[in-house]
C-alpha cells in the first residue's frame, strides 16, 4: 500500500520542476538571511555613531567590511541555487 503510494508519487514528480522550486526557495531564504544580518549590523552602527559621532569614520569602515562579508556568504548560496537552475 505504502509502496504503491510512493510509486505514484514518484511518477507524478518525475519531470516536475521540484528541483527548480527548491533552488528558488533557497535563493529567497539566502536573501532573507542576508537582509536580517546586514540590518542588525546597520542598526548597531547607527547606534554607535549616535553615541560617539567622532568615531563615525571608523564605524563606517567596519560597517562596510562586515556587510560585504555577510553579503559574500549570501552570494555563495545564490550561486549554488543558480547552478542548480542552469546546470
Amino acid at each position: 500500500m505504502l509502496s504503491a503510494i510512493l510509486t505514484v508519487l514518484l511518477q507524478a514528480t518525475a519531470g516536475a520542476a521540484i528541483g527548480q522550486v527548491g533552488a528558488a526557495l533557497g535563493a529567497a531564504l539566502a536573501a532573507i538571511g542576508a537582509g536580517m544580518g546586514i540590518g542588525k549590523i546597520g542598526a548597531a552602527a547607527m547606534e554607535a555613531i549616535a553615541r560617539q559621532p567622532e568615531a563615525s569614520g571608523d564605524i563606517r569602515s567596519n560597517l562596510i567590511v562586515s556587510a560585504a562579508l555577510i553579503e559574500g556568504v549570501a552570494f555563495f548560496a545564490v550561486i549554488v541555487c543558480a547552478l542548480v537552475l542552469f546546470v
Binding site: 569602515s61 562596510i64 552570494f75
Partner: protein, 371 residues
C-alpha cells in the same frame, strides 16, 4: 469633474482595447509556430541576458534582425590531432570566419550541441564533433583585460612621472587624484592589517589588486567598446586573483602561521588521534580565497545581470503586448537601469576595497609574530 471622468474612461477603453489583439496573437502563434524558423523568433529573455554577461569569441555591438555588427577577435587554437588539419598544430584566425556560429572553418566549428554549447570543437573527416582543441583565443574578456591594462599603465606611468617631477612640491595633475587613494590603501588597509614593519613589501601587490579590480569593475559598466566587457564577472578572472592572494599568503607565511594551522593552542584531544583542529584550519586556508573569488564574481555578475534584465523588459513587453507597451515601459526601464548602474558604481568601489582589505588581513595573519 465630468471632463476628468471622460478622460479616465477614454484611457481605460484604450488600455482594454490593447488586450484584444493578444487573443488573436495567441491563436496565430500556434498556427505559424512550425513555419517560423530564423526570422521573427519570439524574444528569449534568459538567452539574451546570459549572452550579454558571458564571454564570447567576438565583440558583439548591435544586431538589426539578421545583420550583426561585431568586432572579430583572434582565435588561437592548438589541435591535439594535427593529422586532421594537414599536419598543422597551431591555428590562428579571426572569429569572423565562423560567421557567428553558422559555418565551419578548417575543421573547427562553434558547437551547438548539448555537451559543448558555445565552445569551439574539432571535426573529424566525416564532420562529427570529436572534442575540444586547446583554446587560448583572445576572447571578449581577454580583450577587455588588455584594454584595462593599457588604461592602468597609462594612468600610473603618468602619476609616477608627475611624482618624480614634483619632488618636494605639492602634487599636481593626475597625481593629485591618485595620491590620496594610494595613501589610503597604505595607511588604512596595509598598515592597519599587516603592521608598520612588514607592510611595504606587500604594497605593490595590494595596489595592483585594488586598481585592477576597480578599473575593470568600472569598465564593465560602460556599454561602449572597448569598455563593456564583463571582466570581473567572470569566475576565471576572479579565481586567478584569489589564487594570487592564496599564493602570496602561503609563500610569505612564517613559522608562527603554520604552527597556528597544524598545532594550534587547543586541548590535546582536538589534535590527536584525529587532527580535528588542523583539518578545520586547513579547510579555512582553502575557503578564504574561495570566498574572495565568489564574492567579487557574484557581486559583479549580479549587477550586470540586473541591468540587462531591466533593459530586456522593454523587449519582453513588446513581444507580449505590442510596440506601444514597449514604448510605454521604456522610461521606467531606463530609469531603473540608471539607478542600478549607479548602485553598481558604489558596489565596484566596495568590492575592490573589500578584496584588498581581506587580502591584506590574510597577509597580516601570515606574517604576524607571536603576541
Amino acid at each position: 469633474m465630468l471632463k476628468t471622468a471622460k478622460v479616465f474612461l477614454i484611457i481605460l477603453a484604450l488600455s482594454i482595447v490593447n488586450f484584444v489583439p493578444l487573443g488573436a496573437q495567441h491563436a496565430n502563434e500556434h498556427i505559424s509556430e512550425e513555419q517560423e524558423t530564423h526570422t521573427e523568433e519570439s524574444f528569449n529573455a534568459g538567452k539574451f541576458v546570459i549572452d550579454h554577461v558571458s564571454d564570447a569569441y567576438d565583440w558583439h555591438i548591435a544586431s538589426f534582425g539578421d545583420k550583426h555588427i561585431s568586432i572579430p577577435l583572434p582565435i588561437i587554437l592548438y589541435s591535439k590531432n594535427p593529422d586532421l588539419h594537414n599536419g598543422k598544430g597551431f591555428h590562428v584566425f579571426m572569429s569572423s570566419k565562423f560567421h557567428h556560429g553558422h559555418s565551419d572553418y578548417k575543421g573547427f566549428r562553434i558547437s551547438h550541441s548539448e555537451e559543448f554549447e558555445g565552445k569551439i570543437v574539432e571535426l573529424d573527416a566525416q564532420g562529427s564533433e570529436i572534442g575540444k582543441p586547446i583554446d587560448i583565443s583572445i576572447t571578449k574578456t581577454v580583450a577587455g583585460i588588455f584594454a584595462s591594462v593599457v588604461i592602468l599603465f597609462w594612468i600610473f606611468l603618468t602619476v609616477a612621472r608627475n611624482a618624480k617631477n614634483n619632488k618636494g612640491k605639492a602634487p599636481s595633475g593626475l597625481q593629485n587624484l591618485f595620491e590620496p587613494i594610494i595613501i589610503f590603501i597604505r595607511d588604512e588597509i596595509a598598515k592597519e592589517a599587516i603592521g608598520e614593519k612588514e607592510h611595504e613589501r606587500f604594497m605593490p601587490f595590494l595596489l595592483s589588486l585594488f586598481f585592477f579590480i576597480l578599473v575593470n569593475n568600472f569598465m564593465g559598466l560602460i556599454p561602449i567598446p572597448p569598455f563593456g566587457a564583463n571582466v570581473t564577472g567572470n569566475i576565471a578572472v576572479t579565481m586567478v586573483l584569489a589564487l594570487f592572494t592564496f599564493g602570496v599568503t602561503t609563500i610569505s607565511g612564517n613559522k608562527h602561521y603554520w604552527k597556528e594551522i597544524y598545532n594550534p593552542d587547543v586541548p590535546w584531544w582536538l589534535k590527536f588521534p584525529i587532527p580535528l583542529m588542523p583539518i578545520v584550519e586547513l579547510s579555512g586556508v582553502i575557503t578564504k580565497p574561495f570566498v574572495l573569488m565568489v564574492r567579487l564574481y557574484a557581486n559583479m555578475l549580479a549587477g550586470h545581470m540586473i541591468v540587462t534584465v531591466f533593459v530586456s523588459l522593454i523587449f519582453i513587453f513588446t513581444s507580449l503586448m505590442g510596440t506601444a507597451a514597449g514604448f510605454g515601459i521604456s522610461p521606467v526601464s531606463v530609469a531603473f537601469s540608471v539607478f542600478i548602474l549607479l548602485l553598481d558604481v558604489l558596489v565596484s568601489f566596495i568590492q575592490a576595497y573589500v578584496f584588498t582589505l581581506l587580502s591584506a588581513l590574510y597577509f597580516g595573519m601570515a606574517t604576524s609574530e607571536h603576541h
